[in-house]
């Protein structure tokens, strides 16, 4: 059996306002033979969070979920659920539930029976089971389909059944492994809204795995960006987007323009040399090689010979792509190609969207919107 520590990290005299984390990983490592799937990861997930694990394929997202669910054992390190070390606790004794990527609905049971299964295992009374099954089928909007078999339902409906089945257990933490991956774009968007609503309604901690950064940004309250079995950065969507910890995060979350160059002190002012051009950077930057990062939506265009505003880079328009509510303009500068995204509807930006191919322009930005990253 497991050695349940009574509320570790919460000594009697400590600050009681500090909540016990829903999930805590301490130096968690998972190896498959030589291969390291998870490399010394420490992570805290607070209760009530909509926590997104975001990262490219093979970075260890599923491994993390499977560790929390108890389906695979840790190689080393500790896993705590609601303050209790559960390293050796089998999955059926953990207070977490999973929505599997493939849904894993029991094919020989009806929708209602699938939802009721976990409750039957808890030995609840017949009336309670029936009542709760109804409640959670209603929550996911499937009241009318209780008698169907999984094979008779669409992917989106099956997904809802899996969600209801896991939620009906009223777990401390709900684990979701790319639950929307198999759905088409429209249904996906709809389920994103739905999931956010359900999260607000039930208040359970959600740990959500995705490799879709847009999905993560739109749904999460916290995001952990993973790569090669490590967590590169954890923070709110805004933090991760606005202040990426490194180039990988900046590149993975949203589109970014990178300019490689050198910071130089010019009098009291810090400037940035990119190729033959010079642009301004924020005053407190230290000298040395660095990468300047600017999101496409912070870039603007002006006439090549205009001299008002901050210094910019001379550029030539090489592509203009009209994308409905915004236009994507690719320009070629001495420091490489840059992508400019201009929304429609404001006077300045609409002018930018009407640039001609081959036109000579100046691409510029406000210094506070550019971030310096040092590798």
């Amino acid at each position: 059996m497991v050695t349940n520590q009574p509320w570790p990290g919460r000594p009697a005299d400590s600050d009681l306002a500090e909540p016990v984390p829903a999930i805590e990983l301490r130096h968690a490592t998972k190896r498959y033979g030589e291969a390291v799937a998870l490399d010394d990861v420490s992570m805290v997930i607070q209760p009530g969070e909509f926590f997104c694990l975001l990262g490219p394929s093979g970075c260890g997202k599923t491994t993390t979920l499977n560790l929390i669910g108890g389906f695979i054992p840790l190689t080393s390190g500790d896993l705590l659920i609601e303050g209790h070390t559960v390293n050796d606790l089998p999955p059926h004794k953990r207070n977490v539930n999973t929505v599997f990527q493939s849904y894993a609905l029991f094919p020989h049971m009806t929708v209602a029976e699938n939802v009721a299964f976990g409750l039957r295992m808890e030995k609840l009374s017949k009336a309670d089971i029936a009542q709760r099954t109804r409640e959670y089928l209603e929550l996911v909007g499937l009241s009318g389909l209780a008698g169907r078999l999984p094979a008779q339902m669409s992917g989106g409906q099956q997904q809802r059944v899996a969600l209801a089945r896991a939620l009906a257990k009223r777990p401390a933490v709900l684990l979701l492994d790319e639950p929307l991956g198999a759905l088409d774009l429209k249904l996906r968007k709809q389920m994103q809204t739905e999931l956010a609503r359900i999260h607000r309604q039930v208040g359970t901690t959600f740990v959500f795995v995705t490799h879709d950064q847009e999905e993560a940004l739109s749904m999460a309250t916290q995001i952990a960006i993973m790569s090669n079995g490590t967590v590169l950065q954890q923070g709110s969507p805004r933090e991760v987007y606005d202040r990426p910890a490194n180039r990988f995060v900046a590149d993975f979350v949203g589109d970014t323009n990178f300019l490689a160059g050198t910071v130089r002190r010019d009098g009291g002012q810090a400037v940035f040399d990119v190729g033959s051009a010079v642009v301004d950077v924020q005053g407190d930057a230290e000298a040395g090689p660095a990468t300047l990062m600017i999101r496409p939506e912070f870039l603007a265009l002006r006439q090549g010979d205009a001299t008002d505003g901050p210094r910019g880079l001379t550029a030539r328009v090489v592509n203009v792509a009209f994308l409905g509510n915004h236009t994507r303009i690719t320009v070629s500068t001495a420091a490489g190609e840059m992508v400019v995204v201009r929304p429609h509807g404001t006077r300045d930006s609409t002018a930018d969207t009407q640039r001609e191919l081959g036109e000579e322009v100046c691409v510029w930005w406000r210094t506070e919107n550019a971030a310096l990253i040092r590798e």
């Binding site: 669910g69 059926h92 894993a104 020989h108 009806t110 008698g147």
Partner: protein, 286 residues
């Protein structure tokens, strides 16, 4: 030009394509006749009036079924066969299902070799199994216990070749089994036993049932192994064999027809049970 309308049919594959197609159809028909005509004759002759059946039919009668109903020797042989088949089926289904698990799930060092070990008995000629077991029981075990030949030794002989069938059928079903269903069950609070009972067994039940039905038919008509291992009793095939020495009476045709009908009924019943239990459950949930 070719007369066909579809371009696929007019494609000049071979000058003899039409002839080939026709001869294949004829061959298929001939094979079907070859498979089912003897059985048809068997059924027909069981209603034949004359004591030595043959064409043309002299008249139809239920006489042989009445003879059957009052023939205690054939009935006791049938009963013996059924007894053996039931015991064999129960043991083979349970043991075979249990063995199928390590065969498919990891933790076994050489699953291929193990699988081969369970496939070979199917291919070993029955008389080898019979002689082998006979020597084993009479000589091999003799220093330890004095094994008397009888129904127990027959059951043992039948198990040797029926268990592999169950193992292979159940293993192939387990092979395609989505292990994540077990994860899901564990995730929802089911321990290993309850996962087995509520998830795994119901889902592999069709394979176990198919294996069991196969055991019944294999055991009922087994002759060679039984011949070597049986004591003073007689199973139905052995009894019929001894009777045939005195000429085929239509009574044998009658019992064969009865067995045929019963096994057809069993198979149909099995598949109906499987589908209807599922449908019933669905209706109950609604």
């Amino acid at each position: 030009m070719a007369r066909g309308t579809s371009p696929l049919e007019t494609m000049p594959v071979s000058r003899f394509a039409r002839q080939t197609r026709w001869s294949l159809i004829v061959l298929t028909g001939a094979m079907l006749a070859f498979l089912y005509l003897p059985i048809a004759f068997l059924i027909l002759f069981s209603f034949e009036d004359a004591a030595t059946p043959g064409l043309p039919i002299t008249g139809l009668t239920l006489h042989w079924y009445q003879v059957l109903a009052s023939d205690s020797a054939i009935q006791s042989a049938l009963l013996t066969s059924i007894e053996v088949a039931v015991v064999v089926t129960i043991i083979a289904s349970i043991v075979g299902t249990m063995v199928a698990f390590p065969l498919v799930r990891r933790g076994v060092r050489a699953p291929g070799l193990l699988r081969l070990g369970f496939t070979l008995p199917i291919m070993i000629p029955g008389f080898l199994i019979g002689i082998g077991l006979l020597i084993f029981f009479r000589q091999g075990l003799h220093p330890l216990i004095d094994v008397q030949l009888g129904l127990y030794t027959v059951v043992a002989g039948h198990l040797v070749f029926t268990i592999p069938f169950v193992v292979l059928i159940v293993a192939s079903r387990l092979q395609g089994f989505d292990r994540r269903l077990e994860w899901a069950a564990a995730d929802l609070g089911a321990g290993p036993w309850r996962t087995l009972r509520h998830i795994v067994l119901p889902l592999i039940a069709p394979a176990i049932l198919a294996g069991a039905l196969l055991c019944v038919t294999l055991s009922i008509d087994e002759f060679v192994i039984t011949f070597f291992l049986i004591g003073p009793q007689q199973t139905l095939p052995l009894y019929i064999y001894t009777q045939i020495k005195f000429g085929v009476t239509p009574e044998v045709n009658a019992i064969a027809t009865v067995i045929l009908l019963v096994s057809l009924l069993a198979v149909t019943l099995g598949s109906i049970l499987l589908t209807s239990s599922r449908r019933l459950r669905r209706r109950r949930a609604e």
